[in-house]
Amino acid sequence: MTSVKTKTLQVGDGASAVVVPDATPPVYKRRRKPLTFDKVSFFVVFLGLPLAIYLLFVIWPFIQAFGYSLTDWSGFSPKQNFIGLENYQKLFTDDIFMKAMGNNILLVIFLPIITIILSLVLATLVTVGGGSRGQIKGLRNSSFYRVVSFFPYTIPAIAIGIMWGQIYDPSGGLLNGILTSLGLEQFKAFAWLGDKSTAMIATMFVIVWGFIGFYMVLFVAGIKGIPAELFEAARIDGAGRFRTAVSITIPLIRDNIQTAYIYMGILALDAFVYMAALNSGGGPDNSTLVMSQQLFFTAFTKGQFGLASAMGVVLAVATLIFSGLVFLVNRLTGGDKDVSL
């Protein structure tokens, strides 16, 4: 661990030690330069425009949504009454919404962990998991595996959902077909998506299946950025593959993992497409219902836009809290003072 740190620090120092010319201009020269047309047009196009678009299409709607969440707006009339925080009170006493929130929390805990662990394992195998003689390399044919495992990510989410819906079909589905042909007769008409005990797990599997390849590629890129000498040194010191992964790979691509965790978590807090495709109604006993689905039903089939806006606000706040938590955990576990290349 220590040797790793020193080494990396040296590398880092080297990179930042490039001398920037005119780094410290004399104080009297720090007057504002006249605004030329070039400068102004640059500001307008590259700063002003994006900012304006951001304010108009992201911030303003959000403020509006919060405003509507305090009303009883039906969504189809220009009129609405201010009812204060009543919608929020209703949400937190509504068992179905709480169930949906619970499911989202379940997803946010397990989806990123499972996806990241599996794709890390795969990434390690195809980059440094190869033979223990000669150069550090991945398994044989690793470039082939890399391409193949990226395939699912190129399929649109809705297509993935529909495809797996067919595979899970109790009577004509591929999965039960395989299981029964292996002699497991109890799966003859087993409803994977229709049974409370398996619906969520089956759904999670589909999402993980869809994303594993993408995160694998992300981690491969990260691992490729680590100098091969580090791995060689570890090998000479007698570290096995697991030890190398835990002590070298993971600490050095920590930032990538954090990013992956946040992205995957945000996906888990939404998850709308997968849930809608696999179990549009929320699954048996609402076991796969998520907040975004409930928001959609409330707004468009029940005509309660005020309440739906409140759900949107809760969803947004949950996302922010989640990102904050990931950063906090990373910091508490020493992420800020840890290594980077």
Binding site: Q64, S77, S171, F190, V273, S280, G281, F300, T301, G303
Partner: protein
């Protein structure tokens, strides 16, 4: 109606799901379309006459948005052409939509809704939310149709009821749907079986079917509430209008009515005996329906009369699809065995704020002409609310012939209910029914869960209740 909408949902499913995927992250911005609504623009008015009963201005344009589901929109195109012929210089602009609520929400809020809407499909606008903004269509039924007859005299009885809310005829439901227990006449005849008239007879038939390797019923996860429809229809037959009014008005303990309980118990007996094909709660409903209509793994399927059109491509040849009334509990039920759940669907509405309100009504009047209605029956194999448009051979469809027979057998004993549509509870009820049909709950759980859904609406002061008498 809601049940029907469910079955059409799959057509717009891909698009809907994709649109939703884009929309949900922007949950906030969805609401942002709401600005201060513009004031209503009164439509230009022309001279009122028998050929122009609503005083539509000459050479005006009618803007119609039609739900594009199982029936498509070509029947409105057909009426649009007739409209343009009747009023030269005027144009009917007919646009399809698979997602009425989402597409029209900004137009309603902006005070610029279309002149005529077919508010149907899984994503229809809940009626209680827009009721105040709709025209009363009584003037349309009082007007004369293109053939010179007063429209209300040409309609089937009771068809205006589902569109009437608190005394206002806010929606004109165009298509007549018959709810029944559908089966293959050929299959039953081949085995020497007859259609069971009570739940007990049904149970006995289940045993015989099982001996031949067939189930009584199949179900799909998105359509589990078809069995709720069946149960309510059978319970109303047993217990009379009390049952219906209790449910419609969201009464406490309405699901504990003895008639409903006896139907639930009969269903439970069939489920526990294994006469339902297992795995339905994980099966797409169209796949389940094909197991019935194509693979013939089950004998019966409760559904609306759209089932023939919907499964057209997946029905075994020589199937002879036929509808029967749902079974009664006892032979001494309050309403006769032949009484029927039938309702007009595809609700057409005319928003008061539209630019050409008379034009919207005029197009609707053209649709209710005998010519346009016959065209619909012929191309969609389903009757409209206009009488006498289906010939005796039902355009060659056994299902259509059986519908006409069911309707005439039932006479005045036709009933329907609205509470599921009105309060948008179908989704919550699906969950409960899937569990029940799976054999994972019992009558007591089913009852308390359904009651909970009803109670939640009743106790929610922000939901506008509509009293049914």
């Amino acid at each position: 109606m809601n049940i029907q909408q469910q079955s059409f949902a799959r057509r717009g499913f891909l698009r809907g799901a994709l649109a939703a995927a884009v929309l949900v992250p922007l949950a906030g911005s969805m609401a942002s379309c709401a600005a201060d609504g513009g004031g209503g623009t009164a439509g230009p008015t022309g001279t009122v006459s028998d050929t122009n009963p609503f005083g539509m201005a000459d050479k005006s344009t009618v803007d119609a948005v039609i739900f594009k589901g199982g029936y498509g929109i070509d029947y409105v195109d057909f009426a649009g052409k007739a409209f343009e012929n009747a009023h030269s210089g005027s144009t009917a602009k007919i646009s399809p939509s698979t997602d009425i609520a989402q597409e029209l929400q900004p137009r309603f809020v902006g005070g610029n809704p279309p002149d005529l809407i077919d508010n149907s499909g899984a994503k229809a606008i809940g009626f209680s939310t827009i009721l105040a903004q709709l025209e009363d269509l009584t003037s349309v039924v009082n007007a004369k149709n293109l053939e010179g007859k007063v429209i209300k005299d040409t309609l089937y009885g009771g068809v205006l009821a589902p569109g009437t809310f608190e005394g206002k005829l806010a929606a004109m439901n165009y298509v007549l749907t018959v709810y029944a227990m559908w089966y293959s006449d050929a299959l039953l005849k081949d085995n020497g079986w007859t259609v069971p008239k009570t739940w007990d007879e049904l149970y006995v038939l289940g045993e015989q079917a099982k001996a031949k390797g067939k189930y009584l019923f199949v179900w799909g996860k998105e359509a589990a509430t078809y069995y709720q429809e069946m149960a309510i229809a059978s319970a109303i037959k047993e217990g009379g209008q009390d049952v219906r009014l209790g449910l419609e008005n969201l009464k406490a303990d309405c699901w504990s009515h003895p008639a409903l309980q006896s139907v639930f118990t009969a269903l439970e007996k069939i489920i526990k005996a294994g006469y339902f094909k297992p795995g339905g709660s994980g099966t797409q409903f169209t796949a389940a329906q094909a197991q019935w209509s194509n693979a013939q793994e089950a004998l019966f399927y409760p559904s609306g009369s759209w089932i023939e059109n919907e499964m057209k491509d997946q029905t075994k040849s020589g199937f002879q699809m036929t509808g029967a009334p749902v079974p009664s509990v006892t032979t001494s039920s309050k309403l006769p065995y032949a009484s029927l759940h039938s309702a007009a669907g595809e609700p057409f509405v005319v928003p008061s704020q539209g630019k050409n309100v008379p034009g919207g009504k005029e197009l609707l009047r053209v649709m209710l002409s005998k010519d346009a209605a016959t065209n619909f029956a012929k191309t969609k194999l389903a009757p409209t609310i206009v009488k006498d448009t289906v010939p005796a051979d039902g355009f060659g469809s056994t299902a259509l012939v059986s519908q006409t027979k069911l309707l005439s057998d039932a006479g005045d004993n036709i009933y329907t209910w609205n509470f599921i549509d009105l309060y948008g509870t179908n989704k919550d009820q699906l969950v409960v029914w899937n569990t029940f049909l799976d054999g994972k709950s019992d009558v007591a759980t089913l009852t308390s869960n359904l009651q909970e859904i009803t109670d939640k609406i009743r106790n929610d002061s922000s939901v506008k209740k509509i009293e049914v008498k």
